[in-house]
């Protein structure tokens, strides 16, 4: 890698051109976000007369958005829904990938194909029966009606990624533990699970993105404001504060910042998680 570094930059004009294009693009991507952040602290009058600067400082926009605009409620709903979904998913997926990767029950290649079928199904092909099923179970419009299908959504892809990882782990340790009389559950928890940490992080981030952003199913199921998740709640919020720009932007920032900060702290997991999903898909 090192010796060919110099060679890479041989063509100075190309480098300068690349840099100009990339900086322009970075501005195009970051400035709108910065603009929303700035606007979120301004009064409406300031937004109208002084679009690019900031003369007023109105952090109460955030209070207004959080409480009266209910962004706080929507945000907490998203946190709860996502947390429960991810927790259930993790247990279910780890068990499934351990079964496919290590235990290999009879017929597991066929079962794996059945699981992979989940990668191709479009959401429109399952929403109507799911809507009917959940209603029949008495769960229509509840938080559970979001969580159960959400757990299922990321399942196929995550099991696929994780199984590939478990299959790549050495088997010697399991065999040694087996001779020592360790149970299968011991084997999973004490030997395999610690080795799975990186892939668990990848899969969690991947699923987090899916659940946190989900809109279509939430729109179908949830009618009560008290249960709306952030993507859905933003729709109410938008119509409520259509022309109160400061508060609108404050709401957007509340929806954006926590995920953005998390991303900036561990961007490699985010990028790794999404691209792992993409490559396998």
């Amino acid at each position: 890698m090192k010796p060919d570094r110099k060679k890479r930059y041989k063509s100075l004009p190309l480098m300068v051109l690349s840099q100009i294009v990339l900086i322009a693009l970075a501005v195009l991507i970051i400035y709108p976000l910065f603009f929303v952040l700035m606007t979120s602290f301004k009064s409406n009058y300031d937004v109208l007369v002084n679009p690019f600067g900031i003369k007023t400082f109105q952090p109460e926009n955030y209070v207004q958005a959080w409480r009266i605009g209910m962004i706080g409620k929507f945000f907490m709903n998203s946190v709860i829904t996502t947390a429960i979904t991810l927790a259930i998913q993790m247990v279910v997926i780890v068990m499934a990938s351990y079964a496919f990767g290590k235990l290999k029950p009879w017929g597991s290649p066929v079962l794996e194909i059945v699981y992979m079928f989940g990668l191709f199904v479009t959401s429109e092909m399952i929403t109507i029966p799911n809507f009917v099923t959940l209603k029949a179970w008495g769960l229509g419009g509840t938080r559970a009606s979001l969580i159960l299908p959400y757990v299922t959504n990321g399942l196929a892809m995550a099991t696929f990624i994780m199984t590939a990882f478990v299959k790549s782990l050495p088997t010697e340790l399991d065999e040694a533990a087996m001779i020592d009389g360790a149970s299968i559950l011991d084997n999973l928890i004490k030997i395999t699970l610690p080795l799975m940490k990186p892939v668990i992080a990848t899969v969690t981030i991947f699923n987090f993105q899916g659940v946190w952003s989900e809109f279509y199913w939430a729109l179908i199921e949830v009618k009560k404001d008290a249960l709306k998740t952030l993507p859905l709640g933003l729709m109410n919020f938008q119509s409520q504060y259509n022309s109160e720009y400061g508060i609108l932007c404050a709401g957007l920032m509340i929806a954006t910042l926590p995920v953005l900060l998390l991303y900036l702290r561990c961007s490699s997991y985010f990028i790794g998680g999404m691209t792992a999903g993409a490559v396998k898909g």
Binding site: L103, F117, I220, C249, Y263, S267
Partner: protein, 307 residues
């Protein structure tokens, strides 16, 4: 029972929870959707009877549906073309930067990818506002006020605007995928090409493009299928309007099923969309496989390993 058989049996137990979810909320509903698309089932009552191909015949004559498919195709194809081409060049530009800049661009350009489409939609609706929006304000302040538009509210610009917002969100994703693929190209090959007198453009055309066909294929498939399924961005930016200029299939299915409660019609729409997406995927795979040198490039690099 010996230990091996016990392990295999335990395998089923371990698969049980995931299978429960898949069976209840994926396999069963999928089969039910297919079967019910041949009935007169609606959301009002539980009884139904089979009507043969009637729903599909009606769908075939449904102008709204094919108009929506056309909008989806236009959106998917244009977005894919722009994103793939631009994403590729940007990845090459990033590839030519120093390490520190590479890291910066990778993280910075990827930011919109992590945000929910609904956040992006609300944000851009504000930025694209006719009177006070950032875009028009910038245009006016640099003397291009006559270019200011109602963007999402005008027939001529609505679809193009959504394509722009979608590209704004996902260009970083395409770029990063290509960039990772480029980093996997062995530097020895590039060096030997340089010895033979290849310049940057030669390398781009004769080495980088052919050696990243697999990634191009992945990008195209993701972008095309994503474009055919797109919902939140359209629903929240334009709501399908003005007129029906941005009414996409998923929106039509949603309305048919959950505001008109014509489940049978909606299921036929969904089934046809599913088949169209499947066909587009197969075509992309077929074209990709034809040009893919990664499969047997003689350096022991397999398709999976190269990406």
């Amino acid at each position: 029972m010996n230990y091996r058989s016990k392990r295999k049996l335990m395998g089923y137990v371990f698969l049980l929870p995931s299978f429960f979810f898949l069976a209840c909320f994926l396999l069963y509903p999928f089969c039910k959707s297919v079967v019910m698309s041949f009935t007169n089932w609606n959301g009002m009552k539980d009884t139904y009877k089979f009507v043969g191909l009637q729903n599909y015949i009606d769908l075939f004559n449904n102008k709204n549906y094919w108009a929506a498919i056309k909008i989806n195709l236009k959106f998917a194809v244009i977005s894919t073309a722009i994103q793939t081409f631009l994403g590729y060049l940007l990845a090459y530009a990033v590839y030519n930067m120093t390490r520190r800049w590479q890291a910066f661009y990778k993280v910075a350009l990827y930011i919109p990818v992590i945000l929910p489409a609904s956040v992006i939609a609300v944000m851009w609706k504000f930025l694209l506002g006719a009177q006070t929006g950032l875009v028009n304000t910038v245009l006016r302040s640099i003397g291009l006020g006559n270019l200011a538009h109602g963007w999402v509210g005008e027939k001529a610009t609505a679809l193009g605007t959504i394509i722009f917002v979608n590209t704004w969100q996902y260009i970083g994703f395409t770029m990063v995928l290509f960039y990772i693929a480029m980093q996997n190209i062995s530097t020895e090959v590039l060096e030997s090409a340089e010895v033979d007198g290849a310049n940057k453009w030669h390398k781009l055309i004769y080495f980088f493009v052919p050696m990243t066909v697999g990634t191009t294929e992945t990008n195209v498939i993701l972008s095309i299928t994503g474009g055919m399924k797109s919902f939140a961005l359209f629903y929240m930016l334009t709501g399908g309007g003005p007129g029906k200029t941005t009414k996409v299939v998923s929106m039509l299915i949603y309305e048919t099923a959950f505001t008109e409660f014509k489940f049978n019609k909606a299921l036929a729409m969904a089934a046809v969309l599913f088949v169209i997406i499947l066909i587009l995927t197969v075509i992309s795979r077929y074209i990709g496989a034809k040009y893919n040198y990664e499969n047997d490039d003689g350096r022991g690099r397999t398709k999976g390993g190269a990406r």
